[in-house]
């Protein structure tokens, strides 16, 4: 929804399907997990110990707010990690 522009200025990478909280999500190569989630209109994903929703804050890998579990590896920064075909993501904050 919020991906910008099409040809001639921008050509996106290969379309990729990832799985987020059990649902398929369309993304494009070159996007980060956070980018793909935001482009799909999803701003909140993780829940804190106290149950508060969190999403992307600093965007450059410093704040560790955007953590998700990727292919069973916990503690992955969604803002730095590029999407890959078949990736299974558990946000810990299923809507």
């Amino acid at each position: 929804m919020t991906r910008i522009g099409t040809s001639p200025e921008v050509e996106r990478g290969q379309p990729i399907t990832i799985t987020v909280d059990g649902e398929p999500l369309q993304a494009y190569a070159g996007e980060t997990i956070a980018g793909a989630l935001l482009a799909a209109g999803r701003k909140a994903w993780r829940r804190t110990l106290h149950g508060r929703p969190r999403g992307m804050f600093c965007g450059i890998g410093v704040c560790f707010d955007c953590l998700v579990t990727v292919n069973d590896t916990p503690h992955v920064r969604a803002c730095l990690t590029p999407v890959a075909a078949g990736m299974v993501i558990d946000t810990g904050g299923k809507p």
Partner: protein, 476 residues
Amino acid sequence: MADRVEVAVVGAGPAGLSAALAAARAGAQVTLIDSHRAPGGQYFKQAAAELWVGNPSRHQREGQALWQKVMEAGVRFLPETVVWGTFEGNLLALHGPQAPSFLQAQAIILATGAYDRPVAFPGWTLPGVMTAGAAQVLLKQQRILPGKRILLAGTGPLQVVLAAELVRAGADVVAVLEGGRLFTASLRHLGVLWGQWRRLVEGLSSRLTLSRWRVAFRPGWGIAEAHGRDQVEAATITRLDQDWRPIPGSEETLACDTLCLGYGFIPSNTLARLMGAEQDWRPDRGGEVPLRDGHMQTNVPGVYAAGDGAGIGGGPLALVEGEIAGIAAAARTGHGAGDVEREIRRLSPALARERRFQQMYAALFTPGPGLYEWSREDTILCRCEEVTQGDVRRAVALGADSINEVKAITRCGMGDCQGRMCGHLVAQCIARETGRSVTEVGVFRPRPPIFPVPISALGRHAADDTSAGAAEAIRR
């Protein structure tokens, strides 16, 4: 075993690229380390390699050209690599896909850059509230908009430039709130802008874009609260006085789904501190910065610091500082043609020009002290450990009057970010409560690992002969 190199450069933004190039051209063997996938840092942020962009920005083109030269000069690049610790004798502990466990360097150039200054107000942890830097990454690297109805709040021309980019990309920008009141202040600095034509053109063209799209630019306004259940749905904004304190009764509420905050930057100085570089508290340069000589060397022999990580000054200043540090570090390792002092003097006009610009920028766009009073008792200061302003004040009431005592009582600063987000917020809160200065309150003491790394990585390090000291440090 530790790899050995003559010059290690930490950070591949403008300062690091420039330093690596200068050192390698002088004949030194150079390893360049960055925690991201691609070089460039935030200033030269490139579009993702998989994405084809027909109209890269000027910064992207400049970054690409500089990167080409760095590669041609034979610099070894370690991407996606964090420096999680430093130990006696200029030993860097690394974690990354292509990185050795340890790197022993004769000279180390810290070009660690900066991050957006966090500002705590009610609702600032809601998803949809993000830094201006986060919005820039989405725009430049991925061509994705952070939201649909975007409110920008912060200070300085970068916010106006970001707002214009968002508008051109199709976002509905609700307003741009500027904390300062600029017009009278800026007249005193007109002389410094002479020669800064590219910056002026970029600023004016962005300002015109906002006018054309009827985006309100509101000097003297800030954020009172972000509202929403699971994400931002609206924000209450408030007029600010000269010191950036909210003026009661001036509030307005605007609907928005995204709030981009750009209140200046904080230098990433954790590594410099960890290495024992003496620091100075310089609010005009973003906070705590290492002391340096004319070669950009800290008080630790062989450890240099350049660019925003050594004090906020922007990309062009970082390029000059990096070049000086690179020449000096190469000379220290026995490289370089002729007179190093003369080489460095050649750069002094550019250095002076950019420092004058930095001083003007700081005079106009350093947030007022009221910025740290936008939080309430139940507002979270430490995002990782969910420590509120009330928690910090209760710790002070118990007798804690330094940041490390408050950390021990409340856990603030102990989370994943290692206090990078809450450090200034907590320090200012303690200073306000105790009447002490921020310098007296102190800063979080960094300890390795300064970035989270998997236990398996530490195990690998600990099994290594050369890392006995490192393993010992972790056990402590």
